[in-house]
Amino acid sequence: MLEGDLTLRQGQFELRSGLFALPAQGISVLFGKSGCGKSTLLRAIAGLDKATRGTLRFQGERWQDGGWHLPTPQRDIGFVFQDAALFPHLTVRGNLAFAAQRAPAPQRVDALENIAACADRVGVTDLLDQPVTTLSGGQRQRVAMGRALLMQPRLLCLDEPLSALDWQAKAELLALIDRLARETGLPMLFITHAPQEVERLADRVVFMVDGRIARIEPLHQALARPDSPLFAEEGPVSVLHGQLSAADADGLRHFGTAQLTLRLSLPDDANLSASRLRVLARDVSLATAQPQGMSILNQLPATIVAMHARGRERVTVVCQLADGQTLLAEITRYSCSALALQNGQRVFALVKSVALMG
């Protein structure tokens, strides 16, 4: 558990986190507009700003208590900075070694082996002897991740590590971060202002507004609220969790859980270990009876659990699928009254398109 209440004044800006408690497992994503204090909070948690006040405990250990603070080097926090912050006077190997040589004694013994294994894990083995000034943005962040892992952290902080990358590097790194989180079990704090990154990675979301933590909730809860800040860009979104199976006779892959199956037509280069599907509410229609003669592949039985007005003409319908997962549909107010939709009613959700995340 990471818990506390931190304040930090920086010029005109003031961080007042309010009392918070975060489970020290999985990926917690700090989400909010730029200038809302995400980075300031992360720096305060890492102890990088001496003006931090308040309280902070990690797994019961005291990190901050009033004006007293445990120095950063003793907190065992791996930190990936927005611009990677690699040491320009060292090679890739030198940067990794800097971390490995300062790891706790048991791991330090195998420093050389660890560097090789870690370089392989983050995909920079071929770059080991290059100066870091020659690397691309994506490569720099991979090295930064490797370096942060090699110091054997108990908590990994990532401060918008993807913001300066092109979409392809971004997608690759998201997959890498997701994989590392699952393989290492290392708790992570990840900052972003991109809803897609939240939907891709988050186990829980820390919403920040004006220098304070507005709320902390699991991703599925954050996506069940019709006014979720995550919906600001593309309207309401659902994330479905499940596994991909092999292609069937028609060349379609099945995604889902024991009680839920979607049939997908995927591009050849799709990541087959992906476990999240992103569905825009505006791509979901509702029918009161299973329609016949339709080209839409996925017609999922669902139960309406709530309906929320969205603006004057539209309604967001919250549906529960067969396996309990939530799917949002955005329909017109006219359709809603024409079909006489009600809470508890059984309907079919027609999913026009989905995006596999990963």
């Binding site: 990088l48 300062r102 790891a103 942060a148």
Partner: protein, 230 residues
């Protein structure tokens, strides 16, 4: 041109010893001072910076005069030494060494301060998260990234001390093997109208200064190259 006399070699050796020791002492003193000046938000930073820079604007005679007073037999430092049964520091090698350290200090502090100020603080944050304490950060991040500034400080400090005259003339006089450095020897020769000897030593200083700066500019380019994007 006639070869250098033993007395002239002695002056050259003395000059090199004075400049070398001054450079070493100043590097050790000024590294933490320049670090503090580069990073501090304290109100003391500006007065301290001004104090350290005074030798840039004061006539060397003023510094030499005050040091002569302080280090001489009646001065605070010299008098105390005398009372302890030791010798005061006016007209001694240790006296002109102290004078050189003070006189050349701005030439060490300034390049170091600029180099330290140019270091991205996020690199220090990164080092801190990798368990590097303050000293570890200083020796393994700050110093390697300040190579160029350190080299500049060493060369300028050494060369400036070699070129020192006024402070030594005031404080040290011209004692062979004690305070008669090359610049003083040249002055003495000129006063004695021995222009041939003055020429010889002047040519040595001119050649030395040019070669030092030439080497500096060549090395500096090479030392810096790994830090430049290709």
């Amino acid at each position: 041109m006639t070869p250098l006399t033993p007395g002239e070699w002695q002056a050259i050796w003395l000059t090199a010893k004075l400049a070398g020791l001054t450079t070493v002492i100043l590097l050790i003193l000024c590294a933490p001072l320049a670090w503090w000046l580069a990073r501090s938000t304290s109100r003391l930073a500006n007065p301290v910076a001004a104090l350290v820079s005074l030798p840039l604007v004061l006539p060397p005679t003023v510094i030499g005069f005050y040091l002569l007073i302080v280090l001489g037999p009646q001065g605070a430092v010299g008098g105390t030494l005398e009372a302890l049964g030791l010798h005061h520091l006016a007209f001694s090698f240790w006296g002109i060494l102290i004078g050189s350290v003070i006189y050349s200090m701005p030439f060490t502090v300034q390049p170091l301060r600029e180099a330290f100020a140019a270091i991205d603080t996020r690199l220090l944050d990164a080092a801190a998260t990798l368990r590097a304490g303050t000293l570890d950060q200083f020796f393994n991040v700050v110093l390697p990234l300040s190579r160029s500034g350190i080299l500049t400080a060493v060369v300028i400090t050494f060369a400036h001390t070699v070129g020192e005259f006024g402070v030594i003339a005031m404080l040290g006089g011209s004692l062979p093997d004690e305070t008669r450095v090359v610049s003083i020897a040249i002055y003495d020769y000129t006063q004695a109208l021995d222009y041939g000897a003055a020429h010889r030593l002047s040519a040595v200083l001119l050649g030395f200064s040019f070669l030092t700066l030439l080497a500096f500019y060549s090395i500096n380019r090479r030392v810096m190259s790994p830090l430049r994007p290709r």
